[in-house]
């Protein structure tokens, strides 16, 4: 392989217009497989969730999973697609040992959903419309593990292990129309699209769409054409890009690579490419010398799928609020900027904040705790916010204790630390550790008197009008009360006792 010197990103975009096509596979969260009754749970003993049908044994036949069809229709509707009145499955014929029948039961020219769009919002709030070509139903393949080679790929392996537990798990493949006009924001659009799609799938409740678990996988097709040209260039297809960040990086890398090849007078080969997480690069996979001939034909073992219009309309009525609409509503309700909302989304905090508000907290403090202290802890632990061992109800309780003056922010952080350390409910912790603010005016008064006495010089300055110097005395009181005092009240008391107006 010759190493191509990359062209800088800005340079590439000065000359070329990127065209992208994104193909996303989503594993549906149905209890059983697409065409048989086998379980779909992840992590089972290899080949323990199989039957004659998903093993492709001679004589076996498929039966369509109705829940999978329902999920596909929901996805189609949420993507503003038309839903086919009548469509068929088709056989996609090709050989691979992890595909039991050596054809994949998929859909070809009659997808269940087609002609839609998804509006995605970029970080600065700009909305970009990604047109959807189609969403179709198909089955997943088994999983090959190649043993003995250096690369983990089949080439050079000594033997391969096949696990058919995944074979036949329902997949929805969602294909965009060519995405043009994104210019230098193309990689950002790609990432935002996949992120938006993931939110949508989760909101529909049809899949957990966890990319790290392979429940959602993305192929990035990319080509460049000279600015102003009407004809698309030759594309490359970067396979299995499996995180949001990787989608963006893969698109970016391919833009720079294509530009380098084209600028030096070379031609892009139509090929599949592998993405490398370590450095964000792609390398050549198998070259498609000619378009692979899958010899599609209608699956004769299945009857056509004809979703009744009334049923489709019923599903449409039952769709949840779409994530982007919901986010915009929440953004307005919470009074935050597009940028902050994006950060909240990226942190996976939207639902946590909503739940915290539902548990009684005000929007500002719910957001403050999740995006501040809790994000910091999650970051330190290297886990997602949702996995922190603290519930929105507990966060709301802490916020309430602060609002009623029982805690201040510093004490609040202290309580959070102990909740996360699994020491119990916020109230128990406050009680056990004596973290309640010292609000007994007598005790506080004594502490203030002592501080004034010990710092006569500062007290004089304050008396003479230098109110700003009060901070030092507040600090002394807070220290004496181990932080368990309300700083604002302490300040008031100091000024009061020294006869100064605040």
């Amino acid at each position: 392989m010759t190493v191509t010197e990359l062209v800088s990103y800005d340079e590439a975009l000065a000359t070329y217009e990127p065209v992208m096509g994104l193909e996303v596979h989503v594993e549906l969260g149905t209890k059983t497989k697409m065409f048989c009754g086998c379980a779909t749970e992840l992590g089972a003993e290899p080949n323990s969730q199989t039957c004659p049908t998903c093993l492709g044994l001679p004589g076996s036949l498929p039966v369509v999973n109705g829940i999978a069809v329902e999920s596909a229709v929901k996805i189609g509707l949420a993507l503003n697609c038309e839903i086919a009145e009548w469509c068929r499955f088709a056989r996609k014929n090709y050989f691979y040992p992890d595909m039991p029948k050596n054809f994949q039961t998929s859909q070809y020219d009659e997808p269940i959903a087609f002609n839609g769009y998804l509006d995605v919002q970029l970080e600065d709030g700009e909305v970009f419309r990604v047109e959807i070509e189609r969403a179709h139903m198909e089955e997943d393949t088994g999983k090959s593990t190649h043993v003995g080679g250096a690369t983990g790929r089949i080439h050079g392996a000594q033997h391969s292990l096949l696990d058919y537990n995944r074979a036949g798990i329902p997949l929805i493949e969602i294909v965009t129309k060519p995405i043009t006009g994104a210019g230098e924001r193309a990689p950002e659009v790609a990432k935002a699209y996949v992120a938006e799609l993931r939110e949508l799938i989760k909101a529909l409740g049809v899949s957990e769409a966890r990319m790290e678990m392979g429940q959602m996988r993305c192929d990035v097709n990319l080509s460049l054409m000279p600015k102003g040209a009407g004809k698309f260039g030759t594309r490359s297809e970067t396979k299995n890009v499996n995180s949001l960040r990787s989608v963006e990086r893969a698109a970016r890398f391919e833009i720079m690579r294509h530009a380098a090849v084209l600028s030096s007078g070379g031609t892009i080969i139509q090929e599949t490419r592998h993405f490398h997480e370590e450095d964000g690069s792609t390398t050549s996979g198998r070259v498609k010398e000619e378009a692979e001939d899958y010899r599609y034909f209608p699956e004769p073992d299945l009857v056509p799928v004809a979703p009744a219009r009334e049923w489709v309309e019923e599903l449409r009525k039952g769709l949840p609020e779409l994530p982007r609409v919901r986010r915009n509503r929440l953004r307005e309700e919470w009074g935050v900027s597009e940028h902050d909302m994006q950060s909240i989304l990226n942190a996976g905090a939207v639902d946590l904040i909503v739940a915290t508000i539902e548990a009684g907290a005000d929007a500002a403090s719910a957001r403050k705790w999740w995006m501040g202290e809790l994000s910091r802890i999650a970051n330190e632990e290297g886990i997602g916010l949702g996995l922190l061992p603290i519930t929105p109800v507990q966060v709301a309780r802490i916020a309430a204790l602060i609002a009623e003056g029982s805690l201040n922010d510093k004490l609040g952080r202290e309580v959070i630390k102990h909740v996360v350390n699994d020491e119990g409910e916020p109230d128990e912790i406050v009680e056990k550790r004596g973290l309640k603010i010292v609000s007994d005016e007598g005790a506080l008064g004594t502490a203030v008197d002592e501080a004034i006495a010990a710092n006569a010089g500062i007290a004089d300055k304050i008396r003479s009008g230098k109110v700003a110097a009060a901070g030092a005395l507040v600090g002394a009181v807070m220290k004496a009360t181990r932080g368990q005092a309300d700083a604002a009240r302490v300040r008031e008391l100091i000024l009061e006792k020294l006869g100064v107006e605040g």
């Binding site: 001679p58 039966v63 299945l302």
Partner: protein, 498 residues
């Protein structure tokens, strides 16, 4: 005793078992003895499941002793085409590629037979993957026609039809993709029915051409076929193409045979070049007989039937090229060349080279070509259009008549080896049977005499609209009764003793 038992019809056997006159074990042993005596010559069976058959027979006898109600075919032996999976019993589809494969599951049909107390004697020989009209394409050697062992018993279900004609079993199961039940029935002087597509579950029936394949009953009498039809037909949630509707009243129809007042169609296209004189003679006599029995004969023109054979030889190979892709040596069956030095692709190629016979390879190649991009519309696409035209011709015809009759196959049984080098001549055997598969309706073949020139059986085909399978039995029973009266005995009594 054996000689008496093996000549009984299924209906008679069931009655004698129910009344206690015979035990299922006696009946089974008589048939196993017959198989042992003649199958070396006939070679109808690929596998005889002696233990399984006797165990099932004992269970039927025990049930009867306990006073439990027996089904209408309980204890009756049956020869099962080796295309249906049988849990724990080899299933080869007549191919080397599945040699040694023991299925872990029963086909729905197998299960229904077992549940009905039918005794499965073993698995019968067939053309590899049901591709053929003579059973010569079996990887395990040909089957002889009990009328003349140098001649073919038809195909692909030649093992099932020969087992009936050789009195090795009173019942058999076949599958019919282009005539594989009816043509063997025709050339062996037995009865075979291809039910309406979707009437009998295909779950566990190894696929050749999914949109055409249909399992069905084979027997020596129309009533026996009806009794078996009723056991195996009916909706199966494991087969999406299975019809979710009541089974037509076939047994009732077989018990009340009549054609009086019926309109019977004779299609212009089922005649002409390639038809043996003796076959046409017997067919014309059958039409005369129908008239005598009170039927009105109507001449029909179905022009698209001339295209049926061509369409069939695009659709069936196309589907088979995809259905057979799974035989890749990875999970089951034959594996050749796996010596630790070869890649998976090489092992697959070597296995297929050794495991598939020439006819299977020919059809896989034909189908692969017909489906390839750029040719799809011209071949597979056009063939599907022809299929629609054939259905329309049938619809039009059945607007005018209740059933259609024709010769089942243009000639009587030909000699083993005669057509093996001429696939086109072989394909012509299915000229009259294929339109029914393409349209998905129902048809029967039953004996209508011997051809004068060679003394071999001739079959009469009766075709009915989809889901009107009962009409086949109504007409078939009437024709059978009239011919038996005319001949003075069932036709098979004229077959030489083996």
């Amino acid at each position: 005793m054996t000689d008496i038992i093996i000549k009984l019809t299924a209906a008679e056997i069931a009655e004698k078992i129910a009344s206690g006159e015979l035990t299922a074990v006696e009946v089974t042993e008589a048939h196993l003895a017959r198989i042992e005596a003649v199958d070396e010559k006939v070679h109808a069976f690929l596998h005889v499941d002696r233990e399984g058959a006797l165990a099932q027979a004992r269970e039927v006898d025990a049930k009867r002793e306990r006073g439990e109600k027996l089904g209408p075919l309980a204890g009756v032996p049956l020869a099962l085409k080796d295309i249906f999976t049988t849990k724990g019993v080899p299933t080869t589809v007549g191919s080397k590629i599945l040699e040694g494969w023991i299925p872990p599951y029963d086909a729905t049909l197998t299960k229904r037979l077992k549940d009905a107390g039918v005794v499965i004697l073993g698995k019968t020989n067939m053309d590899e993957f049901a591709m053929g009209s003579s059973t010569e394409n079996s990887a395990y050697g040909p089957t002889g026609n009990p009328w003349d062992l140098t001649k073919i018993p038809g195909g692909s279900g030649g093992g099932s039809s020969a087992a009936l004609a050789a009195f090795q079993a009173p019942l058999a199961i076949g599958t019919d993709t282009g005539g594989s039940i009816r043509q063997p029935a025709s050339v062996t002087g037995t009865v075979g029915v291809k039910p309406t597509y979707g009437a009998v579950s295909r779950y566990g029936m190894v696929a050749f051409s999914s949109s055409l394949d249909q399992g069905g009953p084979c027997a020596r009498t129309v009533l026996d076929a009806a009794l078996l039809h009723e056991v195996i037909a009916g909706h199966d949630p494991l087969d999406s193409t299975s019809i979710d509707a009541p089974v037509p009243p076939v047994v009732e129809a077989a018990r009340s045979g009549s054609v009086a007042g019926m309109r019977v169609g004779v299609v212009k296209q089922f005649r002409g070049e390639g038809y043996q004189a003796g076959v046409l003679q017997r067919f014309d006599e059958s039409v005369e007989l129908l008239k005598e029995l009170g039927a009105e004969i109507v001449e029909l023109d179905c022009p698209s039937f001339d295209l049926a054979l061509a369409a069939y030889y695009l659709i069936a190979p196309s589907e088979c090229s995809s259905n057979l892709a799974r035989f890749d040596a990875m999970r089951y069956g034959l594996r050749v060349g796996d010596d630790g030095t070869k890649s998976a692709e090489e092992v697959t190629a070597l296995t297929r080279e050794a495991g598939f016979g020439p006819e299977v390879k020919r059809r896989v190649m034909l189908g692969t070509y017909a489906l390839s991009s750029g040719y799809y519309d011209a071949y597979y696409g056009s063939a599907q259009k022809v299929r629609t035209l054939i259905s329309r011709d049938f619809d039009k015809a059945f607007g005018q008549v209740d059933v259609i009759v024709s010769p089942t196959t243009p000639t009587t049984a030909f000699a083993i080896g005669e057509r093996v080098d001429d696939p086109m001549a072989m394909y012509l055997a299915d000229l009259c049977t294929i339109p029914t598969n393409l349209a998905g309706n129902a048809a029967m073949s039953l004996p209508c005499g011997l051809a004068p020139e060679d003394g071999m059986p001739v079959g009469l085909q009766i075709i009915a609209p989809a889901m009107k399978d009962d009409r086949l039995y109504k007409v078939g029973a009437a024709v059978e009764a009239a011919f038996t009266e005319r001949w003075g005995h069932p036709l098979l009594e004229e077959a030489p003793s083996l």
